[in-house]
């Protein structure tokens, strides 16, 4: 009886195995079949726009890059500007004189260059003449004036008079520009930053030991803007030591007080994408706590310069949260709030804290939890489609969405209710009092929404790579 029952057990476990395998195979088949469904193929064929735009940039070639570089340096650097004008003036006058005084310059070449190389061989041709005129133009422009050649016709002399008068101005400006460049180089310590470089950049106000780690993570994320300005009063050498070994990042350090309006303006806050405010331990002894009211002041100043700038603040003491909220900080990071959860989870759900550790702390290059843009072609689709897109195209797990919510808008809230007169009066009065009708936009997350959840252009995907 006993052996029988044993046999029965073995049989039933065999049956279980077979059934399990069947289910697994069925799943595999389903997966394979899914991969062959036209819709999935269509999903896989959806390209992310960024790839396309990169391609376009590649094909447009080096010429446009050189042209744009030249354009920007022309508009910024007065030395280049005057040099370009001088060159244009020299070429125009050379051409004009070559035409007007062709015979004279040609004869002069014949007289001077007898026996030595000339382009025309035996007789000087127009290239020799042009070069000779060019020589005359340079001698005239630099005010050296050898006098070996000079125009003889009235028209030639008249043109030369005009050229010399124009040259008088150009040489003065060029000389002035050279002097100012030299002076500027001497004062380099106090120079202004190159305005064109900074757009949608990150400003980190305050310095503490977390900054290098923050920079490391930004460095590792290829999509993040590499232009970063650090504003703090820590010694330049200390900062330099920590930021020296980043390859991708372009970091500028402004060694001034970040609560000052002029300093934040110097860091082009009005054009910045994000201002990150950290507890500042500049100039503090190791055991001293950073003063957090500085963060509140910086936030207030920043928001008065640029309402639209995204301000992220790290606070240690949660008492300051209310002040920062009042100062309109967009996001407030309070590490203290996470600690109890992580500690408790070690007891209630062992594994969860380790999971977070792996996910956040040990983030590798292009791995871990990341926020990516959803291709425009998928706008208006449901969550299950987006999820399938990332699964089948990249093998990423879509865990949720980050949604940029424009803040509360009084205008939207009022809608069409009440009389237009009162609504307009409210708007006029608030506008007059300098109260903006909308509060700042902020990011909210939607984790693991139902399959039928519809996404719009404000959604960005949070994926596990």
């Amino acid at each position: 009886m006993k052996s029988n029952s044993n046999n029965h057990d073995i049989e039933s476990s065999d049956i279980k195995d077979i059934k399990l395998n069947e289910v697994l195979n069925a799943n595999k088949n389903l997966y394979d079949k899914l991969n062959k469904i036209p819709e999935i193929e269509a999903i896989q064929s959806i390209e992310v726009e960024e790839e396309i735009s990169e391609f376009i940039q590649d094909s447009s070639g080096w010429f446009s890059i050189i042209l744009s570089r030249f354009k920007s340096s022309y508009s910024e650097n007065e030395l280049i500007r005057y040099a370009v004008w001088s060159l244009i003036l020299i070429i125009i006058s050379t051409s004009a004189l070559t035409v007007v005084e062709y015979d004279m310059f040609r004869d002069s070449v014949a007289g001077h260059a007898e026996g030595s190389f000339i382009f025309g061989g035996d007789e000087p041709n127009w290239v020799d003449t042009f070069f000779h005129t060019f020589w005359w133009a340079i001698v005239t422009f630099t005010t050296v004036g050898y006098g070996d050649v000079s125009p003889v016709t009235h028209l030639g002399k008249f043109l030369t008079i005009i050229i010399m008068l124009l040259n008088f101005g150009v040489v003065t400006l060029l000389g002035g520009a050279v002097a100012s460049v030299l002076v500027a180089q001497k004062l380099k310590g106090d120079e202004n930053l190159d305005e064109n470089k900074f757009n949608k950049h990150l400003i980190i106000a305050g310095w503490n030991s977390t900054v290098p780690n923050i920079l490391k993570i930004i460095e590792d994320n290829k999509d993040a803007n590499p232009i970063i300005i650090l504003v703090n009063e820590t010694e330049a050498e200390t900062v330099q030591r920590h930021i020296g070994n980043f390859e991708r990042l372009d970091i500028t350090h402004i060694s001034e007080n970040c609560t000052q309006e002029s300093v934040l303006k110097k860091a082009f806050l009005d054009k910045a994408d994000t201002l990150m405010i950290l507890p500042d331990s500049s100039g503090l002894l190791p055991h001293e706590e950073p003063a957090e009211d500085k963060a509140v002041l910086t936030c207030l100043t920043a928001k008065s310069i640029s309402e639209s700038c995204n301000v992220v603040v790290h606070v240690i003491n949660s008492d300051n949260v209310s002040h920062l909220q009042r100062a309109n900080a967009n996001e407030i990071v309070i590490p203290q709030e996470h600690v109890p959860h992580l500690l408790a989870k070690h007891v209630t759900d062992p594994g969860v804290p380790q999971f977070f550790d792996d996910l956040i702390v040990q983030e590798e290059r292009d791995q871990g939890l990341q926020e990516v843009a959803i291709p425009k072609a998928l706008g208006g689709q449901t969550h299950n489609k987006i999820s399938a897109f990332y699964k089948f195209k990249y093998g990423w797990l879509l865990v949720g969405y980050a949604i940029r919510k424009s803040g509360f808008s009084l205008d939207d809230q009022m809608g069409e209710s009440g009389s237009p007169l009162i609504r307009n009066m409210i708007k006029e009065q608030l506008d007059g009092a300098g109260v903006s009708l909308t509060s700042d936009e902020h990011v909210v997350v939607e984790i693991n929404p139902p399959d039928s959840y519809v996404i719009d252009e404000k959604h960005r995907a949070l994926v596990l790579r």
Binding site: M414, S417, G418, L430, A433, V435
Partner: protein, 187 residues
Amino acid sequence: MKPTPEQIKKINHFSQVKLENCQKIADVVDLQSCEPGTHLFKEGDRGDTMILVFQGQVEVSKEMMVKTSSGFATSRKSIIRLETTDPKPESKPETESTVFVVEAPAFGIGEFSLVLDNAIRTAHVHSTTSLKYGVLKLEDFTKIVKENPGIGGNVYFEVAKAAVNNLATVSGDVSNLTQAFFYALSR
């Protein structure tokens, strides 16, 4: 001169009243006319007359507190203009309208006086074109209603409808103002 019953029926409040009953109302209304810029109602006054405008345009305005460069002051703000379409006003209004112009074949103002004794005028009303209008006294109207209760039903229903609509708008205004108030306080 008296208006015709057809003229009376064009006015929204009397649109449901039978033509022979409109005749009874027309009999107690005197036709009058006035120049542009004539004040018909003053805000805060009490009155027991309703004005029936048969031709022309009027502007409704209210005293409101506004913030100016030198502080707070009350000033008269136009709210709305009402204009007849059948017939249209004889001339263009004296001043361009800065507010919405509501058009109707003919219209009545101060209709609450048909319900309330000594109703308070809630806004200023003045003419912006020359007007042809009639004045209906509460006393006369009440007498007609007593003799013909059907008229009362028809007219009071329209007045109630207007009152309910106003109430909905006002409740929207109160909600908007409350929100704006808290919003401004929290900034």
